[in-house]
Amino acid sequence: MDVVTLEAVTKRFGSRPVLNGIDLGVAAGEAVAIIGENGAGKSTLLRICAGLIHPSSGTVAVQGRVGYCPQSAGLMDLLRADEHLVVFGRALGLTKERALVEGHALLAELGFRDGTQQVRHLSGGNRQKLNLVLALLGDRTVLLLDEPYQGFDHGAYVNFWDHVAGWRSAGKAVIVVTHLLTELDRVDTVVELFPEEP
């Protein structure tokens, strides 16, 4: 059964068409890669799935809790990584202790172990790891990941695709926006978007 269903979804920004008649179904335990050149509407499609943008027409149905990892990390520069875990955990109904334990475990899996630093002092890669972990925190059914590996070193990048396989095995629906075509054999479906003509 599909946990993410898009039917005839279109999106226009003013007079500029971005998406036109997109149909997509993603089942639990399925990984989908969305590829396409710049301006093809990949991030827009993901934001529509997340509910952050309304489609101009068409229907979207998403079952379960969504974890969304934006392309540019939506973080507070002056808060520590641990403080992000607590604030986001509260949204998910997690206690402070639970959010920290779960968050630390997820960060450690990505090779990031110091949650006491303020975000402004983190490297680009570690910021992105925190960005990704905030999307994973709690029991998510659907993962919407917009180029989440930007800034990762090679090891962490390879490791990321191992995690995608793990999340898929755990029954999560995973949608990854990516520009890198070398790992497409690690997903079940590849959706290629093309820029719409104005």
């Binding site: 997340a50 969304y68 002056l78 998910l92």
Partner: protein, 353 residues
């Protein structure tokens, strides 16, 4: 919605704002310094009591802090709402934290102005400063929720504050501005020239209205389409409508009453400026310091106005019924003081020409 969970999310939002703000040390220093600069520099330049300058400095600092607290958190707010926060929970958490911090700042600044300027209306001053905080926080939050970028927000705040600085408190325009009623209360603390009730009602009305605007604008900006349920999440239409009507009524009430009061009694600070312009040089030659003025509403020969009292008992009457404010010595002792000044410099009375 589970109220306990909602409360814990509000608490988390407040804590997030507190941590973020407490780590901006330079910004905190400027928030404290700005009202002091407004107050002391204006006081030094024209010798008035300048409670209004101190109050406007506080409102500007608080409004800007609230504005940037909102703008800086936009990206993270979007994700928090997606994960389960309600936009209004984030807003209320931020509002509560900023309000507490602002009340502390306003109280400290009010206390300082009490000591330095020694205005007659002690309670009026503290009440005015409290209402400055209560109005400036939702003003910053509302502007932050409405504008697309920082530049527009800061220009809007500068515009509002600039209008207040440039116009006398009795102006109808000032009465219609969000912080205008607080300005009138500050004037009242020095000159007892505005009615208390309408000004307080106006402040509360604006605070309520701006809070509602902030709630609506942030709800709209951070709206997340819940694909899975589609259930309406906004079930508070009637209370919101009632609150809106109440806030508008509170704002309109002082506009319809205190305007006449202000016109009939003249503007306190403007009246003091009239004294300084007309007689300032003479008073200096007579050895009368121009600071620490007080004012009271009065009527002379059927003409409404305000009596300005300076140190050493110098008193002046400034009628409010004339288009241009003029100050005249109000008693024989003051006329003697002026004569003493003129004997030392016969041209000193021509300062206003």
């Amino acid at each position: 919605m589970n109220p306990a969970t909602s409360l814990s999310r509000i608490e988390a939002a407040a804590e997030m704002t507190a941590r973020d703000l407490s780590r901006r040390r330079l910004a905190l220093a400027l928030i404290v310094a700005l009202p002091l600069v407004f107050y002391f520099f204006t006081k030094a330049s024209d010798g008035g009591t300048n409670l209004t300058a101190g109050g406007i400095g506080v409102s500007w600092a608080i409004g800007a802090a609230a504005l940037f607290a909102t703008l800086d958190a936009r990206a993270v707010d979007e994700r928090l709402v997606l994960d389960g926060y309600q936009p209004r929970e984030l807003l209320v958490g931020r509002l509560v934290l900023l309000l507490l911090a602002s009340l502390v700042l306003a109280a400290a600044m009010g206390g300082l102005m009490l000591v330095v300027s020694r205005p007659p209306g002690h309670l009026d001053l503290m009440l005015a400063m409290g209402l400055v905080a209560v109005t400036a926080v939702p003003l910053g939050l509302a502007v932050g929720a409405l504008v697309p970028h920082e530049l527009e927000g800061i220009l809007l705040l500068i515009g509002l504050v600039g209008l207040q600085i440039g116009l006398p408190s009795s102006s109808t325009v000032v009465g219609a501005l969000p912080l205008g009623n607080a300005q009138r209360l500050l004037d009242r603390a020095a000159y007892n020239n505005f009615a208390l009730g309408p000004a307080v009602a106006g402040c509360i009305g604006w605070a309520l209205l701006l809070s509602l605007v902030a709630v609506f604008a942030s709800q709209r900006r951070l709206e997340v389409r819940r694909h899975r349920d589609g259930a309406p999440r906004w079930r508070t239409g009637l209370p919101i409508a009632l609150a809106s009507m109440a806030s508008v009524a509170l704002i309109v009430f002082p506009l319809s009453t205190s305007g006449a009061d202000a016109d009939s009694t003249s503007a306190g600070s403007a009246a003091f400026h009239a004294v300084v312009l007309r007689w300032g040089v003479c008073l200096e030659f007579a050895g009368v310091p121009l600071g620490d003025a007080t004012g009271t509403s009065a009527e002379r020969n059927g003409i409404p106005g305000i009596v300005i009292t300076l140190p050493r008992g110098a008193t002046f009457f400034v009628p409010s019924s004339r288009s241009r404010l003029t100050a005249t010595p109000a008693d024989p002792a003051t006329r003697k003081l002026i004569a003493r000044g003129e004997s030392r410099d016969p041209t000193c009375a021509d300062g206003s020409s």
